[in-house]
Symmetry: C2
Amino acid sequence: MREESFDVVGIGHAIVDVLANTTDAFLTEHGIAKGSMTLVDAFRAETLGRTMKSSIEASGGSAANTLVGIASFGGRAAFIGKVNDDRLGQVFAEDIRKSGVHFDVKPFTGTTATASCHILVTPDGQRSMSTFLGCAPEISAADMAVENVSAGKILYVEGYLWDTPGAKAAIRSAIAVAKAASRKIAFTLSDPFCVGRWRDEFKALLAHDVDMLFANEAEAKALYETEHFDRAFQEIRRWGKAAAITRSAHGSVVLEAGRVHILDAEPVSQVADTTGAGDQYAAGFMFGYARGLSLDVCGRLGGLAAAEVIGHMGPRPLVSLKSLAAKAGLL
Amino acid sequence: MREESFDVVGIGHAIVDVLANTTDAFLTEHGIAKGSMTLVDAFRAETLGRTMKSSIEASGGSAANTLVGIASFGGRAAFIGKVNDDRLGQVFAEDIRKSGVHFDVKPFTGTTATASCHILVTPDGQRSMSTFLGCAPEISAADMAVENVSAGKILYVEGYLWDTPGAKAAIRSAIAVAKAASRKIAFTLSDPFCVGRWRDEFKALLAHDVDMLFANEAEAKALYETEHFDRAFQEIRRWGKAAAITRSAHGSVVLEAGRVHILDAEPVSQVADTTGAGDQYAAGFMFGYARGLSLDVCGRLGGLAAAEVIGHMGPRPLVSLKSLAAKAGLL
């Protein structure tokens, strides 16, 4: 087994977040449902891109956000995801590299553009998102070379990828490669609706391939079709591998084999935007795990990172998570 | 081993609650600290009793409240506690029997009066309590005859009793008797300040005598001198016997041997008065346990009973807990 170059290699949708302040009138004019996330097509994404004024562009997407968090902890992280060689694709690549994440996947050569998520922020602080998936699901088995997917101690995979047959097949081959190299396979359920669409496949993945599970409470309940947190918790305990279940203000529960830790949420003075809280929790947990820290410290690093992003707009840390963790006495 | 006549036999302070509506001016005039609980002497208790108008009198005290809860679930409960043969002592005995709890302890023959807790409710719903312990701590080894303390499947003991040397000695002999009869010994930490006063003795009790522990989060943290819930939880897990830790809106955690259940709080439409929530939680849990129900159902019965008393003034259920539990599908 060759030595790993990274703590975590993550696979997910490569999406450029395009943020702009706007008015309620603009949302009404463009028929955008306030406060929700809507999937849109290329035409609509282009129109929005043209119409939105003075926007901020940044690399985004759930797994990519997690990897940026790991880099902020001082961890070594690599991202596998697909962009086109268009302007937004270049924005994505530059931005994620600037955040300290290794990224060198060959750009998509077809006509489908780089994925974008147009985030419109109204004066009341609400975010209305229009996501165009573009070429993000076009990752292929060719992108999953053994030297890439087995380059990390942990291979982290986003549940969202299941929605496209091609991406799913690529992930399956990546998992096989990482398993053969004795890497840990970490998986996030991503979204309760995503769980609803792929419940049986996700359960089979857990049974055969996954070593580490990330879920929020709603996703865990959706997976086991129960209204009771405890029932989902019992199922995950029975499964027995490493898991972190996040519960918003109720903190989180982390478990592995016989161990269980019930962790309080880190105090947040003001909840500004919960987008990305789960992504950053996964960052803290996996960073701690890859560095051999105890299970409860892994969970507390997760909680710390989640609290940081909840306190401001945007899904990525604004300050060094490494310093925050040191200040909290966790590193 | 003879058969048990009761599900639970409980030992605690026998206190008569005297409730009256009053004004802020009355509190100021009598120097009563609003919203708090103050220990008072006989003279002050008498003065308050004379001055308070149109009051409601009812049997009270933490363990006694728990036993009334058990009776409300349809359980068989007996109380061991000390009253004088005065008017309030008769009120206590009549009221607790009317609630379905067996009570036949010989009254105290000294001059110290029956304990009372004068509860003054101001128009804003706040409760200001003046507690006179009176003869409540005068329970003696003579009250702990084997046919009494071993008459239940579970012997339930209040931590509050530790504050008086005589009561503590009586409890120690009761525990010895119950252990010899192979009964389960259940113990509640009662109060974080009480834990602070008797930490080492409580830890020794857990190590040698107690089979079932009740604590709220503050008490559990106080016992193990930690600010982190998870640390207290890990200590209790290591201890390994049956335990229920209540966490207010965060629900409860119940555990025994390798099992752990993380239970949500039951929904409460309006928090009117949290007095007695812990007492009723213990009622539901022990009723379930004595009836051989699974650990998670014991905890859910506890949560159900706690939610009932939180929704209204007063520490005892206003409706049948048995019906509530049946409606919730738990019995």
